[in-house]
């Protein structure tokens, strides 16, 4: 075929099954076009064919014959839409950005042909309907497109809201899936077809194309075993990995790996798994100890009985709590509420899949990996494989949300294969693998009992939560109750119910959203039963002064004051709900920022990575506070730099910000008032100063220190419910965040809006579905695992309460988790306010709402 590609002629003979995206990325080498869902759902791969946006992952490459194709690279980098994206902060991780940009360019160019002024929000959203942003940056994306259409950026360069924005909007930012090394092979994982079995694995016979050695003597294909032991415990569990010259050859080779299964009795559904007589999945102490964990760091200790692992009760006057609750139940006390809440598993499904490119050489291992934990991956790889040296690279990371914290299957397979074959190997998860076996927020079943009094506080609470994380332990939900609502008597217990399903992993605010789903609805219900204002009741119960400030501001909002009071009638009903959250404050206290003056510019380096939070910009801004006119270059994403933080536990900003300020101060001291150029070649190392009055836990674990104080959030959410179709639309959300001083207001607001969007997904759409018999994950594509889109995004207002963190250097802490924890609960409370139906099960699907609503 012949076509015009980004302005130049191209020829290529595609195979019948080749997609346009394949050819563009691998043959034409234009990796700005991203593939995320592979099913035409997310739009990341959108290209312009004769000016029309099309999804290239479903477009047969042969259909490009005779066309003019423009990808994000062909748009240039200076289109008004790109300028607007750069200045309006219309991105976070940036993986979806090329697709949004190409679509928006087509819309912009078409719209301006026959319009003046600004297109409406709805017009823009309609055009962007086929695009998903997992970070949830829709608000800024729509704003950027509208401003570009209005001509705001016709004649001027943008002021970048974040350092890497120009590279991301032009498709020039390199993600791990874009890395291609000379001689690189492609790896594929062989996975279990059964939920529970004893397996024997035979390496495949090599054919000519996949013979172990080519004529030149270089291996062109290979096999490694991944399964430790001989028992698989879930469908989709990695057993082996193979690599070959192309992905297609690798898949072919994977088919030829012989796995003999001796089926073992299995149980997938948690309700079945906890019954007496259910097949026991971890039979002895050794197997129990080796079970994977979904906890960040060490999980809680527990006792096993069958498939149930029970934690020890976390209680404060636990016996008094239970006595009060029993008595209140017996006398039907007005402030007593008991209910069982459930939540579905939530998949992270970052749009860049888990991916690694490993290059094992005699002098050491270079590992490109899509990770949130570059320093951790380096240490773990060094420990596991002990190569002469380890270099870990993650220039840009297309989202993580907690799923990319360790040596995941892609890393292990790529390293083992590269070590075996002596060639670089890439392993990237398909979307089905990503949605099956890269972790998820465990599903839960929570038994809540609460007794409240209108003025005297929370009299007693008990919460017993079973986590459903497949074969993994470590769900921790109930225990978070130690941090909320004063010091009244309380009894909390967490359990894991093990089933033959894939393991869970940490997910943004682990345990927080399911905790809030139960407890924050409990508070709302008690307020309702006592005839109290839910915000005033929380203010009475809640000892946290930062959150109390948020309640006071929220109480004055028209959104809250004008909430519907009485049970409503009519088809469409409006409701407003409130929910609160808190989250621990953590920092990587060993963070170092190195500043070097090179060619008159200040180069800042640290071994961290940007998963979309804007950490580069936090560092640059901190240096600019001291050197306002300096040209500052920020280099992250490389493990050779001084130690930097893992992007997890909301720790990054409060770690790098103070360290960067310290470094800038040291450089300024060195210069003593002279211009930056006078220190050419000089390097200084900034450290993170200690908190005043120490930390909450006096020791660090893996560089992480839990500091004093809790970050807070309050969400006020408005919904409109179509009570005949069961459809819930979130229309407005106010998010109050108490995390102290804000380092980068634009990026912080963007992230808080994304936290709301993800929370709406958790509340209304996202549902991990596992077949109860076979353990196959059925929600294995983005059509069946539904993420919120631009039309599901409400009008959002973010308020930052910045007082109360004077003991922390820089005066502010992280907010990436606290900003999402209470969102789903606020949606639940709003639905109750609208309909009188208390939703107990997440997500609030139309059928559940219609079933549960009072008639």
């Amino acid at each position: 075929m012949r076509l015009t590609f980004n302005g130049g002629p191209r020829e290529h003979d595609p195979g019948p099954d080749d997609t346009a995206a394949d050819v563009i990325r691998t043959v034409f080498g234009a990796t700005g076009t991203k593939v995320a869902c592979g099913a035409g759902v997310c739009g990341a791969c959108t290209i312009l064919v004769d000016g029309e946006p099309k999804v290239s992952c479903l477009l047969p490459a042969a259909h490009l014959d005779g066309t003019e194709v423009t990808t994000v690279e062909g748009v240039g980098g200076d289109h008004p839409v790109q300028r607007a994206f750069v200045e309006c902060d219309a991105l976070q991780c940036g993986f979806c950005t090329p697709g949004f940009v190409t679509e928006a360019v087509a819309f912009h160019d078409r719209w301006r042909k026959d319009h003046e002024g600004t297109p409406s929000r709805e017009e823009v959203a309609a055009a962007l309907t086929g695009h998903l942003c997992r970070c949830g940056a829709y608000e800024n994306i729509v704003a950027a497109v509208r401003q570009a259409c209005a001509g705001v950026f016709d004649d001027r360069e943008p002021v970048p809201a974040r350092v890497e924005a120009p590279a991301k909007v032009a498709g020039a930012a390199e993600y791990t899936v874009d890395v291609s090394l000379p001689g690189m092979l492609h790896g594929v994982i062989v996975r279990s077809r059964l939920p529970h079995a004893r397996v024997t694995v035979k390496s495949p016979e090599m054919s000519e194309k996949t013979s172990p050695a080519s004529a030149a003597g270089r291996p062109v294909a290979g096999f490694v075993r991944l399964l430790q032991g001989d028992v698989v415990r879930y469908t989709g569990q990695p057993i082996a990995a193979v690599a070959a010259e192309t992905p297609a050859l690798a898949r072919e080779l994977a088919e030829r790996v012989t796995v003999d299964y001796e089926a073992l009795p299995s149980v997938v559904d948690p309700a079945e798994a906890r019954r007496d007589g259910a097949p026991v999945i971890f039979a002895d102490a050794a197997a129990q100890k080796a079970a994977p964990s979904s906890a960040e760091g060490a999980g809680f200790p527990g006792r096993w009985r069958g498939n149930v692992r029970s934690g020890y009760a976390s209680a404060w006057r636990g016996r008094a709590a239970r006595r009060r609750l029993d008595a209140a139940e017996e006398r039907n006390a007005p402030g007593y509420f008991a209910a069982t809440f459930t939540t579905s598993g939530q998949s992270h499904t970052a749009l860049e899949p888990h991916a690694s490119v490993a290059d094992w050489r005699p002098d050491g291992l270079t590992l490109h990996v899509s990770t949130q934990a570059l320093p951790h991956v380096k240490a773990a790889a060094a420990k596991r494989w002990n190569p002469p040296k380890v270099e870990v690279v993650a220039q840009h990371v297309g989202g993580g949300f907690g799923s990319k914290l360790g040596l995941s299957t892609d890393v292990v397979a790529a390293v083992e294969l590269s070590r075996r074959l002596g060639r670089p190997v890439r392993v990237a998860m398909s979307r089905a693998e990503e949605l099956t076996d890269t972790g998820y927020r465990p599903g839960t079943r929570s038994e809540l009992r609460m007794l409240g009094t209108p003025t005297g506080g929370l009299a007693a609470i008990s919460l017993d939560v079973s986590g459903h994380g497949g074969v993994s332990t470590g769900s921790m939900v109930a225990t978070l109750g130690l941090l909320m609502y004063g010091r009244g008597p309380r009894h909390f217990r967490d359990r894991d119910v093990i089933g033959n399903a894939p393991p869970a992993s940490p997910f943004r605010g682990p345990g927080g959203p399911p905790f809030a789903w139960a407890v924050e609805q409990g508070v709302d219900e008690i307020a309702h039963r006592l005839g109290a204002d839910p915000l005033k009741l929380r203010r009475t119960w809640d000892g946290n002064r930062r959150r109390r400030a948020l309640y006071e501001i929220a109480a004055e909002l028209p959104l809250w004051r004008d909430r519907p009071a009485t049970p409503q009638t009519g088809r469409y009903r409006r409701g407003v709900g409130a929910a609160a959250a808190n989250w621990i404050y953590t920092a990587d206290v060993d963070t170092k920022i190195e500043l070097t003056v090179r060619d008159g510019r200040i180069v800042a380096r640290t071994a961290t990575q940007d998963i979309g939070t804007g950490v580069r910009t936090v560092i640059r801004n901190a240096v600019r506070e001291v050197f306002p006119d300096a040209d500052v270059v920020v280099e992250v994403g490389h493990s050779d730099a001084p130690h930097g933080p893992v992007a997890g536990g909301s720790r990054s900003t409060a770690s790098v910000g103070p360290a960067a300020r310290d470094a800038a101060g040291k450089l300024a001291a060195h210069l003593g008032g002279k211009p930056v150029g006078a220190a050419e070649g000089v390097t200084v190392l900034g450290e993170r100063p200690k908190d005043r009055r120490g930390s909450a836990v006096p020791v660090s674990m893996d560089h992480l220190r839990v500091g004093r104080g809790l970050a807070g959030a309050v969400h006020i959410t408005e919904v409109e419910v179509d009570t005949l179709l069961g459809h819930t639309r979130v229309t407005r959300v106010w998010g109050g965040i108490a995390a102290g001083a804000i380092y980068n207001r634009t990026a912080a607001r963007n992230q808080c809006e994304g936290g709301i969007v993800q929370g709406i997904g958790y509340a209304l759409y996202e549902e991990r579905i596992t077949d109860p018999r076979t353990g196959v994950v059925l929600s294995a594509n983005l059509e069946d695992y539904r993420l919120p889109g631009v039309n599901d995004t409400p009008e959002m207002t973010i308020h930052f309460h910045e007082d109360g963190w004077d003991h922390v250097p820089g005066g502010g802490v992280g907010l990436g988790e606290v900003c999402t924890v209470s969102v789903a609960a606020s949606v639940g409370n709003a639905v109750f306010n609208a309909t009188g139906f208390r939703p107990l099960d997440l997500p609030i699907r139309p059928d559940r709402l219609l079933e549960g609503m009072p008639r």
């Binding site: 099954d17 099913a39 047969p60 309907t129 089905a432 018999r773 594509n781 219609l850």
Partner: protein, 290 residues
């Protein structure tokens, strides 16, 4: 088994998942992209005309508004630009078991229906068996209300309704049959239409249930009504009973509510909610079409 490829929006996903493995005959250079007026005064729409064109072509939307509204509401703008009329009529089921490589079922050449034991809330509410996944074609549903006819290369024409059977197959054409065009009878002046789908999200989602209607009113009386629903059965479903209840009467909210009553028996408790939802949708689209 050879398969034809039109826009590729369904087939390419099945190629990637391994569900389709036979040779492909690509139709890109076969033309079939024209929209012509027939001798009777209707339209012949080529099978390769895109869904986007169905939704936006001015002549077509003026003549057959129920078709245009339906086409404009499905999938996403990018999919509508690539997907074709022939493709959306003959697309394969979206059943999450069929789309999952771990399963075989009667539609993959195997036996039985793994979804029947775990239907979920998206399954059919009317069980015409043996498949429990709703038929995916919204456009087929709209065409039923116009008594549209499909043209098959080297074969007899057949009504669009005759493309579908009992749910054992997604369509009844042989793999070698090529659908070349759909012919619509002459349009009726003054027809008005409505379309709506029930979904979880605001857009870009397969419907839990959907409905389309068109009404022609003369002298205050409905002289012609077309009503069909989707998302409820393994075939697209026209509702002649609803149409009959409307025809000959003056349009009113009461009439619509009466006509939209459905005396269905739910196939599964999980999908019983679809009955009132479908009735609501019928009422809504009739109100739009008034």
């Amino acid at each position: 088994m050879t398969e034809y490829r039109a826009g590729g929006t369904d087939l390419m996903e099945r190629r990637a998942s391994g569900r389709s493995t036979g040779p492909i005959v690509d139709l890109r250079d076969r033309g079939l992209r024209s929209i012509e007026t027939t001798e009777e005064g209707g339209l012949r729409i080529g099978a390769m005309v895109t869904v986007d064109t169905l939704a936006t072509d001015p002549a077509l939307s003026a003549a057959y508004p129920a078709l245009a509204l339906t086409a404009g509401a499905l999938a996403t703008p990018q999919i509508r630009r690539a997907a074709t009329l022939g493709g959306v009529l003959l697309q394969r089921t979206r059943c999450r078991y069929y789309r999952n490589e771990h399963y075989e079922c009667l539609k993959t050449g195997g036996e039985g229906c793994p979804a029947r034991g775990n239907p979920g809330e998206r399954a059919v509410v009317l069980d015409v068996g043996p498949c429990v996944a709703p038929h995916p074609s919204s456009v087929a549903m709209a065409l039923l209300t116009y008594d549209a006819v499909a043209e098959i290369e080297d074969g007899p024409r057949r009504p669009v309704a005759g493309l579908y059977g009992d749910g054992a197959r997604d369509h009844l054409l042989d793999p070698s049959d090529l659908l070349t065009a759909v012919v619509l009878p002459p349009p009726i002046d003054g027809e008005r239409a409505g379309y709506k789908r029930a979904t979880g999200r605001a857009s870009a989602e397969w419907p839990l249930a959907e409905a389309v209607a068109h009404l022609t009113v003369r002298d205050g009386v409905i002289v012609r009504a077309g009503v069909a629903v989707g998302g409820v059965a393994a075939v697209p479903l026209r509702l002649p009973g609803v149409e009959a209840a409307l025809t000959g009467h003056a349009p009113s909210e009461e009439l619509f509510a009466r006509a939209a009553r459905l005396d269905w028996t739910p196939a599964f408790p999980e999908t019983a909610y679809k009955i009132p939802v479908t009735a609501t949708l019928i009422g809504d689209v009739l109100a739009q079409a008034r």
